[in-house]
């Protein structure tokens, strides 16, 4: 990363992402937290653009902002007690412990990694090579992920179907 523009973009994006991520934690209203989460996703997509990974950045926005965040909004709206204030909880101490452990791991990884910067974007970030890699080298994880998604889909349908509905369907 060189020049004034990319550096400025990096710091602005970093501030945006961190502030939004903090907002997810401190906002009392669940829907505000979701909206902050969307802002975090957009900030991360900005980082991918800075790293010349255009395709991954666009996929990040389409999948996380366009699909997952919208689904989260939908789920929050359908949850009966989502309007409650989530300030007091018995899980404060375990939460803090977990956060400290995670922070330790992240700091260790950040400290331990050799952060090489190169001037040119490495090959293999465009759509064609990504698709080839997914369907040749990484085909087994790819297929396992899709089986997992199918299982989640079937599970969701099973969970949401009430016995009354099944009885109604049986009559038709």
């Amino acid at each position: 990363m060189e020049g004034f523009g990319p550096s400025l973009a990096f710091w602005v994006l970093a501030a945006l992402t961190l502030v939004a991520a903090g907002g997810v934690m401190v906002s009392r209203n669940l829907l505000h937290a979701v909206l902050f989460l969307i802002l975090t996703f957009i900030g991360v997509a900005g980082f991918f653009v800075l790293l010349s990974a255009d395709f991954i950045a666009m996929a990040q926005v389409i999948i996380y902002v366009g699909a997952i965040a919208v689904l989260v909004l939908f789920a929050v709206l359908l949850t009966p007690r989502s309007g409650r204030d989530n300030g007091e909880t018995r899980w404060a101490l375990p939460g803090i412990l977990l956060a400290v452990c995670l922070a330790a791991i992240f700091l260790f990884v950040v400290h331990d990694t050799a952060w090489n910067t190169v001037d040119e974007a490495p090959a293999g970030l465009d759509a064609r090579s990504l698709g080839t890699a997914l369907l040749t080298t990484w085909v087994v994880p790819f297929e396992i992920a899709s089986v997992l998604l199918t299982a989640a889909l079937v599970g969701a349908i099973m969970l949401t179907r009430s016995p009354e509905e099944e009885a109604e369907d049986a009559l038709v």
Binding site: N29, A45, V61, G66, A67, L73, L77, D126, A127
Partner: protein, 417 residues
């Protein structure tokens, strides 16, 4: 591209970039460093406003839409302000600006305040990747099709924020509906576009226009089914009238816009047209060959051809809005999942097969016309067969008005009789 196309003389208006470059280079010699960037932004703003925003957004969008719908519904439409009522949109804007923008007491003020702003931003950002001419594209990024899809998924969030923050049950109904509809219609839309991507082998919009230019055929002839699916899906995502269940006046007041007034409402209204125009421009680029017209672009400026195609596609939006009745929410959901999604999968299957056959023939030029003919026949057959399979029995055109009882009642899609 032929060398005849687009010289770099400033008087060649087939590429407006020449003129602006000459102006900016001349200005850069006399002005201090950096001012030219501000000047470029100003020129771009004025030029795009005069060439595109004013004729498209106000004349065709607001005025033309109301006039054409008036014509379709046997009334006059706006005809009082200015010649032929042409100044009606400006009068509307002045009225909206001086209106008070109310905020309900129990509303979430911050979210309600920023929702229209977030709704406007993507509508402007979308135009960054649309090629108006051979060199007339702001950001010719290699993933411009995905960029368009990504940015066009943002207004859903804004409309949800608008509907939820107003703290009104009708607004919330509208927000729920728009979120569920966006999820349902996104998948067939992406499947339809995937067909175009598979055929051209690129996800760059300029690359798609170049493909249409090279093979002298528009994507709409190769994949008519994809265009139909795209049109229906994009109408649903943009809340255009036959499928605007998120702001259905007869059911939920005005949906997510219930509590908005003044220019905050005006921004939503104006940008609805902006999104429809952007979707038309996108369809004109992907399916109608963009700024090319079988060689005509060498004499007529390409951006004029592109704007004409955009408005032609936008007329389809006006047409469906003026003629079709609104669908019910559950009908719309069933239509997306039971009709459009399977058709999209079929279309993708056919196109992938053809692409494979085509690559074995070393991309012979003549073969694409055979594919076009086959695909047009297959599309019609597929739509007919899938409708029959879903239990839709078309009845003969009634020669005289009949009661519902005589017609045998309404049979919803998806229920076999």
């Amino acid at each position: 591209m032929t060398p005849f196309l687009v010289s770099d003389k400033w008087y060649d208006i087939r590429d407006l970039g020449n003129l602006s470059r000459e102006i900016l280079e001349a200005a850069d010699r006399i002005l201090p460093f950096g001012v030219v960037y501000v000047l470029a932004a100003l020129i771009g703003f004025v030029a795009s406003f005069l060439l595109f925003v004013l004729p498209s957004q106000l004349i065709v969008g607001v005025y033309g839409e109301r006039r054409i719908i008036g014509r379709m519904q046997s009334r006059l439409g706006p005809n009082r302000v200015g010649p032929f009522g042409l100044l009606q949109p400006i009068a509307d804007a002045i009225k909206l600006i001086q209106k008070e923008a109310l905020t309900p007491t129990r509303a979430d003020r911050a979210v309600m305040y920023i929702a229209p702003i977030i709704f406007v931003m993507p509508a402007v950002l979308l135009w960054a990747v649309i090629p108006f001419g051979e060199n007339m594209v702001i950001a010719d990024i290699p993933v411009s099709l995905m960029y368009f899809l990504a940015v066009s998924s943002l207004p859903v969030i804004a409309t949800f924020m608008a509907g939820w923050s107003a703290n009104n049950k009708y607004s919330l109904f509208g927000a729920m509906r728009i979120v569920s509809m966006a999820i349902s219609y996104e998948s067939p839309l992406v499947l339809a576009l995937l067909g175009a991507v598979v055929m051209t082998g690129t996800i760059s919009l300029s690359g798609m226009v170049a493909w249409a230019d090279e093979f002298n055929i528009w994507m709409v002839f190769v994949q008519p089914l994809a265009l139909v699916i795209y049109f229906i899906c994009v109408s649903a995502e943009l809340n255009r009238t036959p499928v605007d269940i998120a702001e259905a006046e007869s059911e939920i007041v005005a949906g997510y816009l219930t509590e908005y007034s003044g220019m905050k409402w005006g921004l939503f209204y104006g940008m609805d047209i902006g999104y429809a125009l952007a979707a038309s421009g996108f369809a004109a680029t992907v399916f109608l060959g963009g700024w090319t017209f079988f060689g005509l672009e060498q004499w007529v400026p390409g951006w004029l051809i592109f704007i004409a195609k955009t408005h032609l596609f936008y007329f389809l939006f006006i047409w469906t809005r003026g003629t079709l009745p609104r669908l019910r929410a559950d009908q719309l959901m069933a239509f997306a999942w039971k009709f459009l999604l399977p058709l999209g999968v079929f279309n993708l299957l056919i196109v992938s097969t053809e692409r494979m056959l085509w690559s074995e023939q070393d991309y012979a030029k003549g073969l694409i016309y055979v594919f076009a003919l086959v695909n047009i026949i297959l599309s019609v057959a597929l739509v007919y067969a899938w409708a029959r399979f879903n239990g839709y029995r078309p009845e003969r055109t009634p020669t005289r008005p009949r009661l519902v009882k005589q017609a045998g009642g309404y049979i919803p899609v998806g229920e076999r009789s």
